[in-house]
Every structure is written in structure tokens, then in C-alpha cells.
Symmetry: C2
Subunit: 225 residues, 2 copies
């Protein structure tokens, strides 16, 4: 078991939470609480109560809860990119590379790689429900200028490059990959909450196979033309 830490964009925090115990508690407890309460009902006050500190102390680390959310989600995408690299390392055939990516993406996270202080499964859930909220805001352009969405873009770029290897003439690699990534999170959510929007059945253990088939089908058929 390897313990990973990532260096995240410094604009995200006022004080690096990885360096102190309070900071680490903020990270790990906020993951749990955003999962259980949902982002809207999650507040710094409730968080502070849970970790036996105060609201103002949390504000020393993060300007507001929106930045904390982006911090957590950036962590997820950074971690995913790391795992993608690991997975496709030494695989030469681009189609095989793309398949490996898809397999990793549709896999449920297991507790075999440990991000310091964070429950990976919970973080994956948060990404599913809260990711869109990071950028569907009025401040998207200024947040973007600060580089807050770079980790997600990096993942998209990496997979789009593989798509282009498969078919250098395909004109929409980034659109296709960002759409596939959207589909990934949304289809699992739909299966659970709005089943008529999906053909994938929710199954606490293994909805993943069908999801893989769906994504593989639409990616490869679209790319190869």
C-alpha cells in the first residue's frame, strides 16, 4: 500500500491543509459530510462542530466552501490521472490503451491505494453529484483563470490524445472525451435516482460492466467511423 499526496493549485487554499492536523481533519471530515449532507446543506459551522474546532479556524484554510469543494474534486482528478498513467504504462496499442482507461474509469474505487486522510470511495461519490457545481457558476471564468480546473482538463486531454492516436482525423476528440466523462458520472447517478434516463441498472456491486459496454460502444464506433 502506497500513501499518496498531491500538490494542488495554491490558489485553492489560504493555508495548506496537508501540513497540519486541523487541516487534515478538515479534508477528511468534509468529504464525509459533503457526501452525507450534500454540498448545499454542508456548512463550515457544522464541519467545525464535528472536528471540535470553530468556523473561523476553517476559514483560515479555505476562503469558502466552494473552494474547498474544488480542492477535493481537483484531488480526485489528479489522483485519477496518476492512476491512468500507471494503468496504460507500457501499453503501446492505442486501442488497448483506451480500453484500459475505460476499465479504470468504470471500476469502483477500492481501498488499495490510499490518498492521505481521504476515503476514496466517498470522494468518488462526491465527484458524481457535486463535480458540475464546481464550474456551473458565475465565477467560472475567473476560477478558470486561476487554474482551478486544470486537473480535470488534464485527464480529458490525456484521453483525447489516445483517441487521436486511434484516428488522427477524428475532428472532435476533446468533445467526445468530455462527453464520455460526463456520461460516466451521470449514468451511474441516473441508474440510482432517475432510472428512466438510463438503460444501466443500478446494482450496489456491479453496474460497471454494462456501463463499460455502453461507453466502449459509443467511443469506438464514433472514433473509427
Amino acid at each position: 500500500m502506497t500513501i499518496l499526496t498531491f500538490k494542488l493549485n495554491e490558489n485553492l487554499f489560504l493555508k495548506d491543509p496537508q501540513n497540519t492536523e486541523l487541516g487534515q481533519n478538515i479534508i477528511s471530515k468534509s468529504v464525509e459530510m459533503i457526501e452525507s449532507l450534500g454540498f448545499e446543506l454542508f456548512t463550515f459551522k457544522k464541519l467545525a462542530e464535528e472536528i471540535g474546532s470553530t468556523e473561523a479556524s476553517v476559514y483560515r484554510y479555505f476562503e469558502n466552501k466552494h473552494r474547498l469543494l474544488i480542492y477535493l474534486i481537483d484531488w480526485y482528478w489528479t489522483w485519477l490521472e496518476y492512476r491512468l498513467d500507471f494503468e496504460i504504462n507500457n501499453v503501446i496499442d492505442p486501442e488497448e490503451r483506451l480500453r484500459k482507461c475505460l476499465k479504470l474509469l468504470t471500476q469502483d474505487v477500492k481501498a488499495n491505494t490510499q490518498i492521505a486522510f481521504v476515503k476514496e470511495e466517498t470522494l468518488q461519490h462526491i465527484v458524481m453529484t457535486e463535480f458540475e457545481k464546481t464550474y456551473l457558476t458565475k465565477q467560472v471564468d475567473s476560477d478558470n483563470k486561476e487554474g482551478l480546473f486544470l486537473p480535470y482538463k488534464a485527464v480529458c486531454k490525456k484521453i483525447a490524445a489516445i483517441v487521436l492516436q486511434i484516428n488522427p482525423k477524428y475532428p472532435f476528440p476533446h468533445s467526445l472525451v468530455s462527453t464520455a466523462l460526463l456520461a460516466l458520472t451521470h449514468q451511474i447517478y441516473y441508474a440510482q435516482h432517475l432510472p428512466s434516463l438510463s438503460d444501466i441498472k443500478y446494482d450496489a456491486k456491479k453496474n460497471n460492466k454494462k456501463l463499460y459496454e455502453f461507453l466502449e460502444g459509443f467511443l469506438f464506433n464514433t472514433i473509427r467511423k
Copy 2:
């Protein structure tokens, strides 16, 4: 020019806003204000000030701003379904039907059909940025039980049926269509705000052609296999 009104789910409002002048003002001003402020910063108090009324009066119509948002967005999808029916009426060939749908979906709304009290272009913008927020909440299941998401589901179902006509053996028609609808809103948003996630260039007038090509490519290639 036809003036349309739609009967929406009664669970959405406490008092039908279509029946009174205040109600109509609430609808039309809230569309403008959600567009300009974004949903997060939009409040009933600000709205009431704008229309020269009071917060409490707005609360007589809508339980909270979340329901008002769903009301507006349901209105959009209901209207879209109506236009889809209109568009594919008398077209027999299913591939042609799907193409007609796509054309309509990627078209910018023009002011040729008028929803009472609502600016259609503005409403379309709101759907782009705020739609996801209607269902990515902790109350999704109870909202869904009340039928609040039926208009969107109806659109998805209608297009999925066409997909099945083209290829009755395709196993993921609903997933494919809900993914395409997501792509539709998101690609336009990406083009404007996060361009590296898309290959479609933002152009105030006509980003639509490329978007059409992208969607057509990935739909038809996936369906036909």
C-alpha cells in the same frame, strides 16, 4: 405567432403563477434575474424588489427558489417536446426523424414562437447552466416521486424511441440520448468558458453547425454499429 401556455405539474407551485399578474411577473423577472445573477445569488428578496412586491408574496407562489427553478426548466422541456412533435410530424423515415430532432436541438431559439411572459433565449441559457442543479440534490428521490422531472424524461423517451426505430437491437437508447442531451448543453458551455474541453469554437452567432456534426456523428455511428 402563436402564444403558448403549458400546464405544469401542480406540485411545483403553491398557487399557479400563470393566473395572476404578480405570478406572471415572478416568472418573467426570475428568468432574467437567474440568467444575470446565476441561481446561487438569485434570491426571492431581490426578485421581489425588482417587481415591486415583497418576499412573502413570492413565497405564496413557490415554496422555495429550487421549485421555481424546476418550474422554469420544466417549462423549457415541455416546450421543447412540443416543438419536437411539430418538427417530426409527418416524417416517416426514422433516420430523418432523428436528424430533424438534432437540427432543432442544436438550433438557437428564435423569437418566433412565444411562451407567455418568458424570454425563450434567456430560458435556454438558464437550462444550459442550471439544469443539472435541479436534480443533483439530496431530495432528488422525493422530487422525482412528485413527478418534477417528467418533462425532461419525456423528451429523452421520445428521442430514444426514434433511436430504437433505427436499430431495434441497440441496447442503450436511453443512455445514449440522455448523454447526447447532456453533451448538447455542456459543449456550448465549454466552448464559452472551458474551451479546452471541447473542439467546438464559441461564436456568438453560429457554433451550431459543428455541434450538429459532432452529435450526428456520435449518435448515428453508435446506433448503426
